[in-house]
Symmetry: C2
Subunit: 340 residues, 2 copies
Amino acid sequence: MQTITKVALDAMGGDNAPGEIVKGAVNAVSSRSDIKVFLVGQEDVVKEELKKYQYPDGQIEVIHAPEIIEMAEPPVQAIRKKKQSSLVVGMNMVKQKEADAFVSAGSSGAILVGGQTIVGRIKGVKRPPLAPIIPTETGISLLIDCGANVDARPEHLLQFAKMGSIYMENVVGVKNPRVAIVNIGAEEEKGNALVKETFPLLRDCKDINFVGSIEAREIPHGGADVIVCEAFVGNVILKLYEGLSSTLVGVIKRGLMSTLKSKMGALLALPALKKTLKAFDASEYGGAPLLGLNGLVVKTHGSSKAQEVTNSIYQCVTFREQKINEIIQEKIIDSDEKEE
Amino acid sequence: MQTITKVALDAMGGDNAPGEIVKGAVNAVSSRSDIKVFLVGQEDVVKEELKKYQYPDGQIEVIHAPEIIEMAEPPVQAIRKKKQSSLVVGMNMVKQKEADAFVSAGSSGAILVGGQTIVGRIKGVKRPPLAPIIPTETGISLLIDCGANVDARPEHLLQFAKMGSIYMENVVGVKNPRVAIVNIGAEEEKGNALVKETFPLLRDCKDINFVGSIEAREIPHGGADVIVCEAFVGNVILKLYEGLSSTLVGVIKRGLMSTLKSKMGALLALPALKKTLKAFDASEYGGAPLLGLNGLVVKTHGSSKAQEVTNSIYQCVTFREQKINEIIQEKIIDSDEKEE
């Protein structure tokens, strides 16, 4: 008998909700029969969208959630007050084991708070990290942590490294992933207090393939598969990646459009250029998992289109099939025992 | 009578030394009569280079320094042992007031250590920050601190903000520069402990035009003129800027060269493209000043060519003419007295 992965999908979160979200769900269940999607949101709105499509009966169910958490709302308050929001209803389904995973393109802050307070941590996990995939020259890397764990301690970073390594190997499929810690130089004696204290913990950890420090310059060149840092630095890396990429693409577009000659050149070059730039886009790998929870929570980009939503749903299937949480639990508890 | 700015220039530091360094010095003194350059390095090598050029008599003097500090040498040890290196000799000239400034494309670590230990800090300055200029969509910004001050405290960041603001206004010429602190969200309550403690100090400082937090995403868009952060984060931003820019330009080049049609397009588009990409290059603003010292130390890129060297020499002239250190001294002492 086929096992079904049940995904609660926030139909109301993100810039393109509900249209692209619903489309992403329809595409996912149309290609695979081992998925059930619960579309969580305002029933009438979601059902209206669904009318546009044909899809396998019984693989999509609408769960009514009348409230919406806005992007600007203070997360803690939003989670506490809006019990009938798609985000809270969807996360409660994961908590109650009615769904294996929850996927949302909504407010990052609310997803992080809800993940911790509603879904809850795996026993032994000190802090759940948010781990987006970033594009590199040679492929992709996992950046862990970009969540809300500011002022992290060395033991947190050690757990991030282990969880990131498990995810990269078993979900993304990178064999024996190279784990590195973000630093301001390659030598072990470099760095701030946090990095200096974390370095030996990573070096001595048997569960990961630690390759040492990575300078930020080497990240886009694909210098490591799992890039460990505390959330403030991770956030800076992630946001700068987005901002600088869009700035540079804009600068290049202006260059291509600046003279008649360059415009003619652009016409000829654009198809090939778009293709290589598309490869430098991590959205095909799904969203960012919030790791270490009793279930899976995935944060997709606010600007997600159907394709990223579909890929995030597939990501949940792989996560469950590969028993990621069971592996995390085992590794985390193992090392806690060793420490004692 | 014309006042002369005296610049000690490390003829041996950087990837293109001594050729491009000497050329940069010759170009500077050939265009302006108010500059004297001391070329510090191995006398025979430097004099051999100088033979290639005609330049105003008496505006260049060679100072013999037989030793060279290599890029890979541990900085503290190198500064202590190699008393006859161009770096130590040049910095001692600043200390002895024989030169107003020292410019080097050599080892960053050695420059930071030498600046502190040889040239020394202005009274009241707690830590001297390294402040490179980074390119943005709309112009340039000063990123302060990217030096060696890891685990900085709020009062350090306040001083960085003041010194950066003075530099940006008086050397770069940005009127009433907008000062922002790097953060993971725009709201005051966001951030790690350091940012939360620093925020009110910046907000209440009368000497700067503080505009609040800046997310890393907004940095390339030109969201602030003076971007304040501690050195670890600054280093990550600076290095990622370099790495991601070169990666993206590489990706785009590959795209342009991938098909016959795109190659033809590239031929037509490249001149215009090169022009806009050149605007996204901060080297025309000279090197990164190490601020708060008894004199000026400027770190230029390791890959500096003559043009950047020349601009860095001009930067030293403006720095002296605008009496930056006098202003810093006044502002720093002012606020120290207020604090007591």
